[in-house]
Every structure is written in structure tokens, then in C-alpha cells.
Assembly symmetry: C4
Homo-oligomer: 266 residues x 4
């Protein structure tokens, strides 16, 4: 019994970043990261008809193997949570299985295990959604990274400022789209015939993407377009400044953290 607990403790330390006492990732989790990256890469490549035509069965079989590996890892992780003080006993495991992270993990491999045994669907959209669900696995890579956690924290601390700049951007967006609807709506109803339609042009211009699928043709429209382009520079300056400061905060936090844990090691 003590043997089993000692094993579970060792496994937990390997599979759960919370339980791992050193910096970085355990060997097990490095393998998991590799498998996650590989399975996502193959999920991306599978969508390309050129590859799928060459080896139609290759991707389906590979995905089944990956799904079995993820099922195995999921069960191990669930079992090892018994060591996590936050999730004690059977109730703790149920609570763990209901955390958003665990649900995303489960959803990302379950369809690949079940689907091959169901009668094939011909619904194109459904097939695509099942394929894309696998790419959700990438979200796990983010959870493993300390720097990513610091980054999301630093960004969320500035959410008010980001909200304000989003609000300001929405105002400029609505006003420039309204103006374009007024000035160009009659000439080009397909592109500027309503404010929601003109908003597509406004977003493309304010973010300086400028696809060139729609653009003003009349002189007043071009004047408004020029003003919108110039306003776009100001709108980009605001979140750039806020985010650059947030990123610099996050990286300093990560470095301090690393130095502290280096000092702890001594």
C-alpha cells in the first residue's frame, strides 16, 4: 500500500507542474509537449487535400494512436491527482475532471477515439469541427509555461486601459463607417450600403491591413479614408503602448522569479 502511494507521489511529481519541485518541465511533461506539438502539426497537415490524397489512411491511424496516448495520459493524471492537496479523494477527482483545463483535455482526444467506430458522417462542417477540436491541445502548451502565465496576468492587470482603448477604437470605427455609408453608400451599395458593411472597410483601414477589396472611389470618400488611415495610427499607438508596458512587466516578473528560485537552489 505504501509502495503504491510512493509510486503515485512520484508519478504526480512527473505529470503535474504544480508537483514538480524544480524549474522548467519534468521529463514526462517534455514528452507530452512533444506529442501535443506533433499531433497538432499532423492535425493541421491532414486538412490539406494534397497530403490526405497521398496517404488517406495514414493520418486517421496516426490520430487514433495519439488519442490512445492522450487517454492513457489523462487516466494517469486523474489517478495522480490524489496527491494534489487541492483535489483530495474521489470527490476531488470529480472536481478536477470538471475544471475547464481537464474538460478541454478530454474533449480534445475523445472524438478521435469514438468516431472511427461510428457510422461515417458526410456533413462537411461536422467533420471539420471534429478535426479542429484536436488543435485545442495546443492550449496545454500555454498552461505549462510560467512566462505565459505571468504574461496573461500582466495583461489582465491592465484590462481597464485595454477596455478604454477598445471603446475608443469602437467609437472611431462606428463614426468612420457611418461617414463612409453616408458618402459612398449610393455609389457602391455592395461595399458601403450599410454601416455594418462599411465596418469591414473601417477595420481594414484602422488596423492598416488594407486588403484593397473595397476602398472609397469619390473625392469626399477618399478624404474620409485618408483621415481614417491617419486616425488608425493613433488607435494602434494606444494598445501598443499599454501592451509593451505589460509585456515588459511580465518578463521582469519571470526573471525575478527565476533568480529567486536559483537563489533557493543554493
Amino acid at each position: 500500500m505504501a509502495e503504491a502511494r510512493r509510486l503515485r507521489r512520484a508519478v504526480w511529481r512527473q505529470v503535474d507542474p504544480e508537483g514538480y519541485e524544480r524549474d522548467g518541465l519534468s521529463l514526462t511533461n517534455r514528452v507530452v509537449v512533444l506529442i501535443v506539438a506533433l499531433s497538432s502539426l499532423f492535425a493541421i497537415l491532414e486538412t490539406e487535400p494534397t497530403f490526405d490524397d497521398i496517404a488517406p489512411e495514414f493520418f486517421t491511424r496516426l490520430e487514433f494512436i495519439f488519442a490512445v496516448l492522450f487517454l492513457f495520459e489523462y487516466v494517469i493524471r486523474l489517478w495522480a491527482q490524489g496527491e494534489n492537496p487541492r483535489f483530495p479523494g474521489v470527490q476531488g477527482r470529480i472536481r478536477y475532471a470538471l475544471t475547464p483545463a481537464a474538460i478541454v483535455d478530454l474533449v480534445a482526444f475523445l472524438p478521435s477515439l469514438v468516431l472511427p467506430f461510428l457510422p461515417g458522417t458526410t456533413n462537411f462542417m461536422l467533420l471539420r469541427i471534429f478535426r479542429l477540436i484536436r488543435i485545442l491541445r495546443l492550449a496545454r502548451l500555454g498552461r505549462f509555461s510560467l512566462a505565459m502565465r505571468h504574461l496573461s496576468q500582466a495583461v489582465s492587470e491592465r484590462r481597464e486601459e485595454l477596455l478604454l482603448s477598445l471603446m475608443l477604437a469602437t467609437f472611431v470605427l462606428v463614426f468612420s463607417a457611418s461617414g463612409m455609408y453616408l458618402l459612398e453608400g449610393e455609389n457602391d451599395p455592395q461595399a458601403f450600403g450599410s454601416i455594418p458593411r462599411a465596418m469591414w472597410w473601417s477595420v481594414c483601414t484602422l488596423t492598416t491591413v488594407g486588403y484593397g477589396d473595397i476602398y472609397p472611389h469619390t473625392v469626399p470618400g477618399k478624404v474620409l479614408g485618408a483621415l481614417t488611415s491617419i486616425a488608425g495610427i493613433g488607435l494602434i499607438a494606444m494598445p501598443t503602448g499599454i501592451l509593451a508596458a505589460a509585456f515588459s512587466d511580465a518578463f521582469q516578473r519571470t526573471r525575478r522569479n527565476m533568480k529567486e528560485s536559483d537563489a533557493d537552489d543554493l
Copy 2:
């Protein structure tokens, strides 16, 4: 009589951010913000023929209800200004009604109340302008926000620097448009046949929007286009630097303000 004044005082505190003694917005003004946002959203959606065709009467009736609500709010606000020391008596109210903010508020709902009782106009442009006037209501959201007021203050403190960068941008704009008129004017008179025409290309290039509706075709034109693109990076760097500093000032001011009012609460 004292009863009526006490009521008016309570109403004023609810409707006027100046009279509200706590941080943020009163319950009444939160409802107003919601109605402003909703009525703007419907004003935007109404312009889209797809929606308007499904329910032609829906938007007109909804807008009439919104306009009645805004009329009601306007009268209440005007009456409650009696409590505002800046606008005493009947004369004060007239002065209040003539402030730009109050005029914008009035203009934004009046046409929706009056138009349904007038004979229909078939002038497309006029109809559009009446529709767009409603979107002016969004300006009220800006007035309610403390952060937005700090931001506009921080930007206006740097107006000289922004003016200088605008002047510099105008120089580069005029010189690049003149050069393009010289080099490509004969080949592509539609796009570069005059300096004002070439300016549309210059703005698109200097702001790096680059729709691609017009671009140089000859070798000297492409060399000038390349130089203009590179100059654009420098021109964007200047307002970005100025505005990023202004935004950072504004957010620090808002935070200090909040901390002070938190300290006052103790």
C-alpha cells in the same frame, strides 16, 4: 416645497455625474448608458437592408420608443439642473440647454420624434443624415468616463508636438505626391494626373495601409514609392511615441485619482 427640492436634489445626484458623490456612475446613468448603447446598435443595424427588409416597421417603432425615453431623460435632466450651482434659475437652464453637450443630446433624438409625423421624404441623402444623427448619442458615453476625460486632457497638452508631427507629415505627403505626379503623371493620369490625386496614393503608402488600387508602374516611380514607404515608418514613429507617452500619463492620472478617492472614503 422642501419636499420638491429634496426630490430634485436626489434626482440631480442620480442624473448628473457632477452631482454624484461616489466613484463611477449612478444606477440611473448606467441605465442611460445601456439605452444609449442599444439605440446606437439598432441605428447601425437598421442601415443594413437585409435586416430592414425582414421587419420594416420594427426599427422605426423601436427608435420612436427610444426617442421618447431620451425626451423624458432630457426634460428630467434640465429640471434637475436647478441644483447645479453652475446653472442657477431659468437663465441657468437656458445656458445649460445651449451647452454643446446638451445641444448634441437634443439633436440626437428630436428628428426621430418629429419625422414620423411629417410627409415622407424620398431624398436618400437626407434620410441617411437623419439616421446617422442618432449615432451622435455615443458621444455621451465618452463624457461619462473619467479615464476618457483624462485622456483627452493628456492629448491636448501635447497638441503642439502633435501639430508639429502633422506639419512634418504634410510636408512629406506633399513632396512625395509631387514627385509621383512628376514621374507617373503622364503614364497614369487617372491616378497621378495631379498632386491632389497623387495624395490619395501618398496617404495610403505613408500610413502603410496600401490598398493597392493605385501604385507606381515605372522604375523611377517604384524607387520613389519605396522611399515613401520607408519615410512612412519614420512618420508613424513620431505620433506613436507622443501618443504612447500621453496615454501613459492619462492612465497614471486616473489611477492616482482613484487611489485618492479611495483614501477619501476611509
Copy 3:
């Protein structure tokens, strides 16, 4: 004689920013700025055939009046330089007339005075160059501005860093254009058939302008195109950082200057 010298001294203080003892511009120079701006505006508008067709003689006559005013101002300024200790006597005035600034001033109005009395040329290019020469007048506005002088000084102090980033940008430009020539040259010889041709695409991509007149069509070309787009962000970051620091320096210098001159006034 003393009378004449006192008049010349007073005139010099009005026409030469060096001689003006107060901040900003003298009344005379404000009028000059206005005339420069107006004459440039009309020079820009004249190039547009729509305007020129309505009133063919209007622009020519207006320009002649402007040129006479500039001739008058030029002679006055030359005469008043007798007060400038840097340009004493007749020799000083010849040296003044040979400064680049004075030559640009002269060249910007002389053709407009002489051309109407010459037999008309039908050479389109020559006519255009004469028109554009007038826009050189705008350069005078820059010379009048203290902030602009500080700005050009701050930028020139960082010329080494700007040169280095230009060198780095040139490397990336040459390597991405070479790569595109290798990968897409055979498919699209018009656009990528030589490195100089492919450079037009490289500049458009690295500055994120992206007209869309040419873009890669093959898979390896698109991979290189994606890498070039991402490299462009890095290349834009470098001059943006350098220039933003230079601009911030220049504005601080201007402010300090203004405060000092305010302190001198007390």
C-alpha cells in the same frame, strides 16, 4: 543717413528670425508664412485639370502676383541683411545670396516671373518641373520653426544608429529579394525575374504596405513571404525606437528653451 539705418534695423528685426528679439515669429514673417502656405496650396490645386479647366487664367495670374510679392520680400531681405553681423557689406550680401536657403528662395519664385514672357513650351515634363519648383517654398516654413530645428538636430545626433538600422534593413531587403528571385523567378519573370525587380516586392512587404500588385504564388515563395513579413516587424521596431527617443529629446529641448526664454522675460 542715421534715419535710413534705423529703418533698416527695424526692417531686419521684422524679416529675419535671427534678428527678432522675442519668441515665435514677427508679424511680417507670419504674413510671409501665410503667403507661402497659400501659394503652395494654389500650386497644388493648379495641377488638377478639373480646377484648371474652369478658370484657365486664374492660377497663372495668381501665381504671377505671388511671385512679385516674393521678389519684393527677397529684395527687402537682401537689403536688410546689412544689419546681420554675419553678412557685412556688399560681399556679405553676395555670400548671403549664395547660401542654400537664399538660392532655394530665389529659384522658387524666379521661373514664375520669367516664364510668362517666354514663348510657351509644349514639353510636358518641363512644365511640371516648373510647377513643382514652387512647392519648394514650403521648405521655408520648416526653417522658421524652432521645434523643427531641434528635431532635425536630435535626428542627426542619432545618424549612426539610423545608418546601422538602414544597413540591416538593406541586408534583409537584399536577402529576401534574392530568395524570391530564386523561388519565384521562373514562374513570374515580370515580378521576380531579377533581384532589382524582386526588391519592389521586398520593400512593400518589409514596410507592411502590401499593395498586392505582386505576391508569391508557390508554396516555398509563400513561406519566404511569411518570414519576410515577420522580419519586417523587427525592422520597423528598430527605427521606431530610435526615432521615438530622438523626438522625445527634441521636444524636451524645445520646452526647456521656451521656459528659459520665459524666465528671461521676467
Copy 4:
């Protein structure tokens, strides 16, 4: 013998920046920089058919002369390495000849010496690769520059932060391409029919290049496109902030270095 060693020492100081005791570049290396720049320029111009047709033999002969000069310089440099304490004796020279820098130098001129004596190949791709190899010479200019070495050092110190922002950018890239594949894949299989195909659109949008060769056509696709454009601003802000800080570090380091060596000279 002592005479030969003294000559070798003098030559080494001229050809190797490590051996040169003063700031900047020796006279010999300035000439080398000039030849490198010229030979690269001619290698670029030679690819343009317009130039090559006028003087078909000119570029080939010039390149042969350049290659002979580089061979001469390579031999001299190899011989002079005898003075370099890092590469003593014959073994040291073999080790020097196997450094990546020396291999790049050799590869950049050898084909131009050997090819004219081989039977002509008609393989277009091979010919192009031989032409491009010459442009590798430009890499030597970077090695000569102290500021460039500081810059690459400052960037490599922040490689973790750059890697994290690259990882984040990859996530956003994959998710936006997946979404577009889901929403637009059926309508436009050429552009969005697989995730790898949709990634080309994603890169163009996230870097705000926006060629306009492909863009969403449906309403949900445009909504996702707008969100991707806005996310692009955030993704650009991150490396811009990191790189701007790295560049500022590098320039301060170079300046401190120059001041110290100036102080040493006293």
C-alpha cells in the same frame, strides 16, 4: 626570417579586425568592404535581363576579376593567421579554414573561379544559386561592424522573450487559420481549403501586410478577419517592445565602448 615575421605581423594587423589595435577598420579592410559592396551590387544588377542583354560578357568578366581579388585576399588572410594566437601553426590554419566565417568566404568566390572553365549548364535553378552565393559576401560587412556585434548580442540575450512571443504568435496564427478554414473553406477552397493554405492569409493579416490576394467573403469570415486584424496589433506590440529595448541596450553598449577606447587613447 625575422623580416618575414615582421611583415606577416604587419599584414595580420591590416587584414584581421582582431589584430588591428585602433578603432574602426584598417585601410586594407576598408578597401575589402568597398570591393565586397561593389561585387554584391554587380551580382544584383547582373540578374536583371535588361542590363545583361546590353553587355553579356561585362558582368561575367568583372565577376572573374572580383573572384581573383577575393582568392588573393583569402590566401593572404590564411597566411597572416599565423600571428593569431587562437590559430597557431599549420593545424591552426586548418582550424581557421574550417570556421563558418572562412567557409562562407571561400564558398562565396570559388564557384566564380571554377565555373568559367566547366562546360556550361543549362539548368536555370543551378545558375541562379551560383549567382546568389556571391551575395553571401555581404555577411562579411556585418562581421566587421562593432555595433552589429553588440546588436546581435543584445538580441540573443532576449531570445527567451522573443521565443515566447513567437510561440504566442504561432498560437494566434494556428487558431485564426483554423477558424478561417472552418468558416470559408467550403466557399473558397483555393484560399482557405486547408489550414496550411489559410495560414498564408493569417500571416498577411497578423503582420498587417494585407496583399489582398485572399480575404474573407462571408459575414462570419469577415468578423473573424476583423478580430484577427485587431489581434495582429497586439502581436506586433510584443516583439516591437522587446526589440526596441534590445536595440537601445546595444547602442548604449557601443557608445560606452567608444568612450572607453577614447579614454584609453589619452
